[in-house]
């Protein structure tokens, strides 16, 4: 599929949708570097973000990406997790409600353009997972006995705190030589 002529041609309507999709949130707030970074962290908030990758993803310069990341960190939407100041790496604050709101906004933009129901589905999902009685029951739960092993369910915030604590405990123990890390 390297030859352009082998590829199907998009219709005019599809071309318009593509152009619309190239603007963060359909161009509602403009098309600044900051908005392009926000679009990227909203689209996949689970990975580590390194400035160089974001430069490619947002077609932006290094100083502008640096400014955007620092601003988002100051806002509490991102956190610099690198100990090497020369090689910053950021992760997204998954418990931020603004991140959830931005995700829903991204769906709403598509819905308004195409008359779809992405937002409705996401709101239903959010309700089922977070707000409904069943979702609340999962705030923290430890289950054992049904099958081998123990299953622990907890809220995002609890999981984040637990993971941070575990990392600190393991790093401290490793420094003191109390545990050995074994590659598997």
């Amino acid at each position: 599929m390297n030859d352009l002529s082998d590829m199907p041609l998009l219709s005019n309507e599809e071309e318009e949708r593509l152009e619309f999709s190239r603007l963060p949130f359909g161009g509602l707030f403009g098309n600044t570097v900051l908005l392009r970074v926000i679009r990227e962290i909203t689209a996949d908030p689970y990975r580590e973000f390194r400035p160089r990758e974001l430069e490619a993803l947002t077609s932006s310069s290094a100083p502008r990406i640096k400014n955007a990341l620092e601003l988002l960190a100051a806002q509490g939407l991102m956190e610099n997790i690198s100990r090497d100041s020369q090689r910053p790496a950021y992760k997204v604050n998954l418990s931020s409600k603004r991140l959830m709101a931005l995700t829903l906004l991204a769906y709403a933009v598509t819905d308004d353009r195409d008359g779809t129901n992405c937002l409705d589905d996401a709101v239903c999902h959010y309700y089922e997972e977070k707000l409904s009685e069943a979702g609340q029951d999962r705030e923290i739960g430890i289950f054992a006995g049904v099958e081998r092993g123990v299953k622990i369910c907890m809220s995002d915030l609890a999981a984040e705190k637990l993971s941070r604590s575990l990392v600190e405990i393991l790093e401290e123990a490793s420094r003191k030589g109390e545990v050995k890390v074994q590659a598997r």
């Binding site: 599929m1 352009l4 590829m7 199907p8 041609l9 998009l10 599809e14 071309e15 949708r17 593509l18 619309f20 999709s21 190239r22 359909g26 679009r39 909203t42 689209a43 996949d44 908030p45 689970y46 990975r47 990758e53 490619a56 993803l57 997204v92 998954l94 931020s96 991140l99 959830m100 995700t103 991204a106 769906y107 933009v109 598509t110 353009r113 195409d114 779809t116 129901n117 992405c118 409705d120 589905d121 996401a122 239903c124 999902h125 959010y126 089922e128 997972e129 977070k130 907890m154 809220s155 995002d156 915030l157 609890a158 999981a159 984040e160 993971s163 575990l166 990392v167």
Partner: protein, 103 residues
């Protein structure tokens, strides 16, 4: 009017895009189901995924790589319901999935 249910709790239809494919579907869904190939490849390289292989394996009914009249190569999700269900199944549609954190 009958009340809508999110994805009707259906099992997603095959093909299964697998973890990275579902991640890509969640990403492109939040960009409106369309993106240029250049944008997609920049994203896919960051998650070590071969987009063209993925598109070929999923089939043109699900994901299409096409071109505009001006020669821009674009990726379009053809089956949005399929994409949405798998993105949700692998928990890439909403940002609340702490169990995916690496300890």
């Amino acid at each position: 009017m009958e009340k809508r249910k999110a994805y009707e709790k259906e099992k997603p239809c095959l093909p299964d895009p697998e973890e990275n494919g579902a991640r890509f579907l969640g990403w492109i869904k939040k960009r409106g189901f369309y993106a240029t190939l250049e944008e997609c490849e920049a994203y896919c390289s960051s998650i070590e995924m071969d987009l063209k292989d993925f598109a070929r394996n999923m089939g043109r009914d699900h994901i299409m790589i096409g071109r505009t009249s001006s020669g821009i190569v674009a990726v379009k999700i053809m089956d949005r319901k399929w994409a949405s269900k798998w993105a949700r199944d692998y928990e890439y549609d909403l940002p609340h999935h702490s169990h995916r954190m690496k300890l």
